[in-house]
Symmetry: C2
Subunit: 298 residues, 2 copies
């Protein structure tokens, strides 16, 4: 299982996911942009816009290699002269405020020293938190984790809670999910092929999870309050990604491809000074549920 | 001239500026929020919304003191046990895309070691760059600088060009202005009172500059293209402030008051994947003018 084979499986995963998401949307199609990186490698960025369900979304594949930069050394705190990295990233911003924002990333990294690791995760950011939907989402994630290692969910769920945190707001980004990084044979007991299979299964789960979240509800067209709230929550999404998300910041500061990294931005985001939801409202209920991580497994 | 006197002059400056800006707007009034900081001090945040000219803006005064934290030590690269800091910050987001976003900050900082310094600046971010307006703006700034030190503009103009840069976009934030930091008697030859007077004059210039930019034009109501472009440019403003602005990042990461720091956010910002303006359009012309700093003094 060499790096080119892993990249090729991730590229295939990207195509599977976009095909499935087009079915979920039912109207819009992804458009593909291919780019090359001067220092080595490149990627295919697939974006979708103005769909029936998806207002703006992207599924990005990249496979890059080159010399280990100073910025990378600092981030990794490891030695190495050259690296190879490949992965798939997704962010979906739905049109309807009653549908959730959802994010996924699976990635593989290796150094010329022979060290390698996998990282990734899936997390969900509903504009309005529904307990039932959060429970279903987490139980599905746990099932895939349990297929590989009974400790994964126990370890990766709180990791997501710590990672997807806006300390300046005292809020979690959403209802969390799972997050993991630097996983290899040594710290999981799983062979490289199994870790790869885990990440592919997570990737394949993504459109299923998204489909579950948007399929079985008959929604009225959103009212103005719901749309305003969605725009403010999208503002929080922007704050997390630009102020706190290590992946985004590393990509931007190390000279990654800006448009692919910032495909995670919502189509529109609003800010209102010191906005406080009405007491007893659904908006307030959602904020309360984001004040601290919840155990969603029942 | 002790720290309490400086704070009191800055507070007075805030009131003068908001009074003048209310005249510029002609309709909306500022509302004031007063907050206290647990570790010492507090501030008054004045915000304006839905005006005739100003869609969203804030003029914030703060005066805080306390122990020098680890984060502060790293930022300052200086020794000291306790600090005092006071200043006024402004960001204005106009309703009309043909009016500019404008920002100002003046601040004073001192340590218990006896060291003190001033920092600040004014910069302008037009959605559509007008050469005439940029020239007028820079010449006014230069006049105030020249009153104090003939080298100030020469030094502080390129400092703003370096500071208000979005390297990930290869763009300057706008047409720049002036920026300075850590200025004291040693590196300016000016006494503390003179440096304070410089910052007060800059503050008093701000509403005059803004008035100049919005007064003498008869504008048609914006069309849809202008509004879309404004929303995309506001997206860039968000990117700069959350990804690159040292002041914002330091405030957020060190536990400052989030709502006062993020009063700089626009009311609304949009993102569109890989947006490119039409060839030969005014939008393209603006982007070209932001590709590298310009000398606006003629």
């Amino acid at each position: 299982m060499n790096s080119a084979e892993i990249a090729s499986l991730y590229r295939k995963l990207q195509l599977t996911i976009t095909e499935q998401l087009e079915k979920v949307d039912g109207e819009a199609k992804f458009k593909e942009d291919t780019w090359q990186r001067e220092e080595g490698g490149g990627g295919h960025t697939r974006v979708i816009n103005s769909g029936a369900i998806l207002e703006k979304g992207g599924v990005a594949f990249s496979s890059v290699h080159g010399e280990v930069s100073e910025a990378m050394k600092q981030q990794l705190q490891m030695e190495g002269n050259s690296f190879f990295a490949t992965g798939v990233s997704i962010v979906l911003h739905p049109k309807h405020p009653r549908h959730p924002i959802m994010h996924m990333n699976v990635r593989y990294f290796e150094l010329d020293t022979g060290e390698y690791w996998f990282g990734g995760g899936i997390d969900m950011t509903p504009h309005y938190v529904s307990t039932r939907d959060a429970i279903r989402f987490h139980n599905s994630l746990k099932r895939v984790c349990d297929n590989f290692n009974p400790l994964f969910y126990t370890e990766f769920k709180p990791w997501a809670d710590r990672y997807f945190l806006l300390p300046h707001r005292g809020e979690t980004r959403g209802v969390g999910g799972i997050f993991y990084d630097h996983r290899n044979e040594d710290n999981t007991g799983l062979r490289k092929e199994e870790l790869l299979a885990f990440s592919i299964q997570l990737g394949e789960l993504f459109p299923v999870l998204y489909g579950e979240q948007v399929s079985d509800r008959s929604l009225l067209p959103p009212n103005i309050e719901e749309l305003q709230w969605q725009a403010l929550r999208r503002g929080r999404y922007v704050e997390f990604n630009l102020l706190h998300d290590k992946g985004t910041k590393f990509g931007i500061y190390s000279g990654g491809r800006t448009e692919s990294i910032l495909m995670s931005m919502p189509p529109q985001a609003n800010w209102e000074y010191d906005y406080t939801p009405t007491s007893g409202s659904e908006e307030e209920e959602t904020l309360n549920l984001l004040k601290s991580p919840t155990n969603w497994i029942i």
